[in-house]
Amino acid sequence: MKPIFRTIAIAILAGTAALPSYAQTAETNTFPGLDDDAVQQWGGEEGVRNWVESLFYYIMLDNRINHVFREFGNIERQIYLNTQLTQLVLGGAVEYQGASMAAAHADLGITVTQFNAVVEAAYLACERVTVTYEACNQLIAALAPYERVIVTR
């Protein structure tokens, strides 16, 4: 039932021509643009990985969102894919092996309140791994437009 629903959702989203840029996840074109050395500001791949682990720590402490990630399952893989995704949207030259943001969240019924809860966890994680607020905002800018496809309620 669920995989079928997801397939239908992906098909519908794929048919929505208004969102072509999300079919292929890449560096986000923000206004103004992200710093060229954004990934370096994060301490490279290692720094990003540390942050993602910290992010999941804070997500799991937040009852508004932890069940969503737990139900999705395989946290290790989520951390692995999010490390790729984070580097990618910041402009890093990595391959992202996960699903598009639209496809991954289509049937989760995420609210904007839950999306913001992850943003709050992101800031807490930045503080925990001493990524500066300014560098953290590079990622906030890079991920913010995904609100349009992640939030479906």
Binding site: P32, T111, T113, N116, Y123, A141, A144, R148
Partner: protein, 349 residues
Amino acid sequence: MEEAKKNGLRLYKSAALVAAILASNITQAEMFNTGKVLATGGVSMIDGAGGGGITPWATITGYATRDGINGNLHYTYAPLANYTLHSVGAAVGFWDRFELSYTKSSLTTGSTFDTVGLIADTAGGPSGQLAGTPINTGIEPFNTTIDMDIVGAKVRVFGEAIYDSDNLIPQIAIGGFYKKNENEDLLKTLKAAKAKDWEAYISATKIFFPINTLINITARYTAANQTGLVGFGGPGGDDKEIRPEISLAYLLRKDTVIGIEWAKHGDNLEGESVEIGGLNLTELQPTLDSLGMSNLSGTLTQHESDWFDAFIAYFPNKNLSMTFAYAMLGDITITPDQHGFYLSLQASF
């Protein structure tokens, strides 16, 4: 068998109870919401709307996302050289779509108008030009106060100030205030055309996260003198005009924002004197001269300046924000250099 039935019934009953409790909790949770990220609800500007210090922004006040409702109480205290502003009010944001606000502003004027009051008393005295005429200037012997009620509403029209970092379309909101100034007599003395009036505004707000900056541009359609504290319009009429306002804010930390603001003000009362008992002060010149107060009409000329402020807003948590500012309000009625500190507190629920 009977026992099992009983147990089953009890189970149903408790299940129904749990469901009812859950349902009521969900309804409550859906109504009340604090889902916005810290600081993104803005603070309360002096008219009570969500925004900066003196300018309403396109953001909807409070911490509610489109999932619910959230409100706040606010208090602003601005001790200036000759005036002290107290502003107390409440505002509610609904589904990150519209907001309603009510604010009571109280401007104590200290000894500012004592001279005018003295002249009125002199002119209205037994030997004065207006002898025998009771003159109501709205000026009390001590601490003349201007009270103003402000009701505000704002609707978010389109755009995303926060999430749409991949385009330049700002969040746009339109709003309005209805302001009722209580000291009509003083406004008459100061030659304002009206004591109550409405004003409308359109605001565009955008946060640029890559450079940690928020920009807000507002156009306010108004005839206000000093936001309405000195009434609306002047001897030249009460026509409204469009006045620009700009806020620039830098996001220093996730809980701290610094910035500057500018609001264009009008010139309805620019260069005007004060009016006592239906007489312009210049017409009272002979009386004043005979009393040895010939230099007074020059010092009783009104001016109005654009407002500027520089602020730092601190958000220790979603229940409280504190804004400290230095406000440069320039000339206010007959007194120049009205600069001073400004403190605004907002408690969110």
